[in-house]
Amino acid sequence: MNRTTGLLLALVFAANAGGCADVQPWERGDLAKPQMALNPNPTNSAMRTHAYVSREAASGGDSAEGGGCGCN
């Protein structure tokens, strides 16, 4: 756990502190393209995640959402 937290903090700080270019609003054309969305299709990814959750043990701990079992 400590190792995990450390790794995360390192990543976040690296992203924040280390060499992030200042991207002006008019330079964000590429970032606004649909293929660049972090989650291009929320309904699809929610269903996909639910399918994994019911088949794999590593289910919890991510999104702050609830949900049922569906877990035969």
């Binding site: 293929q35 969305a37 919890g60 702050a64 609830g66």
Partner: protein, 864 residues
């Protein structure tokens, strides 16, 4: 004209604002700008597992399938206040592993003919062996070592899970706050949840911090009927009788929290990272999973063959009642200028205090192909270590620890105080394994605000795929695939922005145009589209409800008459008490030309029936030699229903009066071989998911309107093209005539009154005979008499009137009361919601049937 111009200018302005604001933080946190509707159908199917000596066919089993549907809606209520509503349904059916045993136990079982594995033979070192008893010469016998393991599968009770949830969000300039909640319902698992989440934009949105927390409370009440042989172990005090069935009651709580950050790295790359923690407590086991405890008594008597007997006993799995879980999620997105493509790399590390560490790496490539097409190939790798209390089965060097209960009428149990392991599970999902997936999605932007996506995913789940090797044996391996179709209307800020880039214009939502009037919610195929090339979508839900007394002809009838006459030449034991038939369909309309419209109607259906014992039913003493017929009292089925494709052809239209003909073909995509949980018997005809036959659906529809009045009439029929389906029967044909009138009280609200006459034919044929293990002889094994089973072809049991084809069909007269509302302005402008209740007036049923109580129809015509 002026109105149109100002509309499109406003649209373009909104789209440009959206483009400027279309930043990852907003998009990823599901508060995308612009209204959006999304629908998805998804089918998951596992391949067959290696069952060693047996096959799925021998055992009348089918691998797990899951049919899911989701509908969601996001939008803005007033400035800065966002909402989302989501509905998801999934139906599970098929066989899953219940326990794992050495193959040697199955060999012994098949030889002895016992109905489940009770022991296996082992050599002097305790290793499992397959014994060839035909070589027994009175003193010695030939045997071979067999280290293989195998799952014992059982058809889980098919079940449908429904989840509804909502979210409300408020957006300040740099901060968003969201509150959500929902419920998830299955017959054995009931969840309620709330969540709170927020984001904080820093540095002109180059950095977005996010956080969330949620709480879920779940109540479990799982019937142990299908797992009746298992010892109850630690759950003795949680198991109570519910409607005559031993039922396990439990509660569970999950608390989750996460924090994360999204960072724009440069003008072509961004990174999201988050950590999450979940604490789960309470009943965390799976009530349908058992564990085989094996007892190799060191002091057992060894006869001249030198073989040891290891005694097996199944017991409900016992997981710890607390689980702490941590996860780290990272997502990296890189724009590849050369190809105008995006590379997505997601990595997740997971750790819990059950001993499971898991890594997930998901890589996909988003490649636009021009003209609105996008192709997304991807791969996913998942690997986990096993839980500390997982083993395929648990072997103890001790005698079977019998506990004689205080009540001498109860069978002896396991004395758990003599078993030193407190937590045990053989659920293969807690074993060590890896999964490798290949996936492909193709999407097409159909119009400025509508996107259609098709996708497929193939899974290879294997112990040998675990990172670093050393995973579970190959008995637990399986392959699976998923296919899905997704339709997105309004397509969110990102797509809108893209459209501005491509074309420079963005159409405001406009209500679709149609010919003919809108009929009440219960009438299908009531309108056509006006212009060639138009699309339209409607969502439709219907619930048919039957309950209470039994009816014969048009009169209610007592139990004794049903016992004597309801089941042909046998006596009935049970009868239906409640029946719910749910159907959800999408009507996808497309006009190839002005004069005709094509309608495709895919859908999901699910059914539930409760039975009761008939008063005065004959009594069958149960016992080994005469196991009385057993009927479960609660049946559920569900999955994809039949799919119809219909052409609506205009015959006459003068602006006030409209007439069109419908020519439809229904494909038998709904299953007709649904079986009763834990049995080889087909579930009754009403519980099957489709007709099983190709059907012809002709119809003729007339609509008229004048001022605030509209009216219409429709004749429709169903003709079965085939004489029987794969299960051996064909449903009766159907004829329906209906007429309605409606009046617009307000510009946006109308009320309707409708009459319906339906005539439904009787079922032709019946369920074909199916294989059932039957006792054909008895023989000596050692000193014991055991029954010898063989598969025999037997007709489907008729224990109640719903199982006899003579009790289907009839003539019905119903009256319908409905309302229909159109959203006059705002973000949902042009959406039409209709609801109708059909109340039975007279019924004349064929044979003996449960009384019809009514039909609820809800439809939603989506403005695009």
């Amino acid at each position: 004209m002026a109105a149109t111009e100002s509309k499109s200018r406003r649209g373009a302005l909104r789209a440009l604002t959206a483009a400027a604001l279309a930043l990852p933080g907003l998009v990823s946190h599901a508060r995308a700008d612009g209204d959006e509707f999304s629908f998805e159908f998804r089918h998951y199917e596992e391949g067959k597992r290696d069952l060693a000596e047996q096959t799925y066919k021998d055992l009348n089993l089918r691998p797990i399938t899951v049919d899911s549907a989701a509908a969601s809606m996001r939008g803005e209520i007033v400035d800065r206040v966002k909402f989302d509503l989501n509905f998801t349904q999934d139906t599970w059916s098929g066989a899953t592993p219940v326990v794992t045993v050495p193959v040697a136990a199955i060999s012994d079982q098949l030889f002895s003919g016992a109905s489940s594995p009770v022991s296996y033979s082992a050599d002097s070192k305790g290793k499992p062996v397959d014994v060839n008893w035909n070589t027994f010469n009175g003193r010695t016998v030939k045997y071979t070592k067999d280290p293989r393991l195998v799952h014992v599968m059982a058809s889980a009770s098919p079940e449908t899970r429904r989840q509804a949830d909502f979210g409300l969000g408020y957006e300040w300039d740099e901060i968003t706050l969201g509150l959500g909640g929902g419920i998830s319902e299955e017959h054995d698992y009931h969840s309620r949840f709330v969540n709170l989440a927020g984001t904080w934009d820093l540095d002109r949105k180059l950095t977005v911090l996010s956080w969330g927390a949620s709480y879920t409370h779940s109540d479990i009440d799982a019937s142990l009927a299908a797992n009746a042989a298992a010892d109850w172990g630690a759950y003795l005090n949680q198991i109570h009788d519910k409607k005559g069935v031993a039922t396990l009651f439990g509660t569970r709580q999950d608390f989750s929290a996460n924090v994360g950050a999204t960072q724009v790295l440069n003008k072509d790359a961004l990174l999201e990272a988050s950590i999450g923690y979940t604490r789960s407590s309470g009943y965390l086991s799976n009530p349908y999973k058992a564990v085989m405890l094996a007892f190799d008594d060191p002091d057992q008597y060894i006869d001249s063959t030198g073989l040891r007997t290891v005694v097996l006993k199944g017991t409900l799995e016992q997981r710890p009642t607390l689980r702490n879980q941590w996860s780290l999620d990272t997502r990296y997105v890189q724009y590849i200028d050369q190809f105008d493509a995006a590379l997505h790399v997601d990595y997740r590390f997971y750790h819990d205090d059950w001993g499971i560490d898991a890594h997930t790496l998901d890589v996909s490539w988003y490649q636009p192909l021009g003209d609105g097409w996008m192709i997304v190939p991807g791969a996913r790798y998942y690997s986990q270590t096993k839980a500390s209390f997982y083993r395929p089965y648990f072997l103890f060097d001790q005698a079977f620890p019998i506990l004689f209960p205080r009540n001498p009428e109860l069978p002896p149990n396991l004395d758990h105080s003599q078993i030193h392991v407190k937590n045990f599970s053989s659920d293969e999902r807690l074993s060590a394994y890896g999964t490798l997936n290949a996936q492909l999605a193709v999407s097409k932007q159909l119009s400025s605000n509508m996107r259609f996506e098709l996708g497929a995913e193939y899974f290879d789940h294997a112990g040998s795929l675990k990172l670093g090797g050393g995973g579970e044996g190959s008995f637990a391996d399986f392959k699976a695939y998923t296919i899905y179709a997704n339709l997105n209307i309004g397509a969110g800020a990102a797509a809108v922005a893209a459209h501005v880039n491509d074309a420079g214009v963005y159409d405001e939502y406009s209500a679709y145009e149609f010919k003919g009037g809108h009929a009440p919610a219960g009438v299908s195929y009531d309108h056509m589209l006006t212009r060639a090339g138009d699309f339209q979508i409607a969502y439709r839900y219907t619930l048919g409800y039957q309950s209470g007394e039994m009816v014969h002809g048009s009169h209610s009838i007592g139990d004794l008459a049903i016992v004597d006459h309801g089941c042909g030449d046998r006596q009935c034991l049970v009868t239906p008490e409640n029946f719910f038939a749910h159907a959800q369909t999408l009507d996808l309309l497309y006009a190839p030309a002005d004069w005709w419209t094509l309608v495709l109607t895919p859908g999901l259906v699910d059914r539930h029936m409760d039975l009761r014992d008939l008063a005065g039913r004959p009594f069958f003493p149960s016992g080994i030699f005469n196991p009385g017929p057993v009927e479960s009292h609660s049946h559920t089925t569900g999955g994809i229903g039949d799919t119809a494709l219909t052409a609506l052809i205009e015959l006459f239209d003068d602006g006030e009066n409209h007439l069109h003909a419908g020519l439809g073909i229904s494909a038998p995509t709904g299953r007709v071989n649904e079986r009763i949980s834990g049995s080889e018997e087909f579930d009754n005809y009403a519980m099957q998911l489709g007709s099983g036959t190709w059907d012809f659906h002709p119809s003729l529809t007339y609509t008229g309107q004048l001022d605030r009045f509209s009216w219409g009439a429709q004749l429709s029929a169903i003709k079965r093209i085939e004489s029987k389906n794969r299960a051996g029967y064909a449903l009766g044909g159907e004829f329906q005539s209906t007429a309605w009138g409606s009046y617009d009280f307000l510009d946006w609200l109308s009320a309707s009154l409708r009459g319906v006459y339906t005539s439904e034919g009787r079922i032709k044929g019946e369920f074909e005979a199916h294989r059932v293990p039957s006792i054909v002889a008895y023989k000596f094994v050692g000193t014991e008499i055991v029954a010898v089973y063989e598969n025999a072809y037997l007709p489907n049991s008729v224990l109640g009137p719903m199982e006899s084809p003579a009790n289907y069909g009839g003539r019905y007269l119903d009256v319908g009361f409905g309302f229909s509302a159109v959203v006059p302005e705002g973000h949902l402008q042009g959406n039409r919601f209709s609801v109708e209740w059909l109340q039975p007036v007279t019924s004349d049923v064929t044979g003996y049937q449960l009384a019809r109580k009514g039909t609820l129809s809800i439809s939603w015509n989506i403005a695009m």
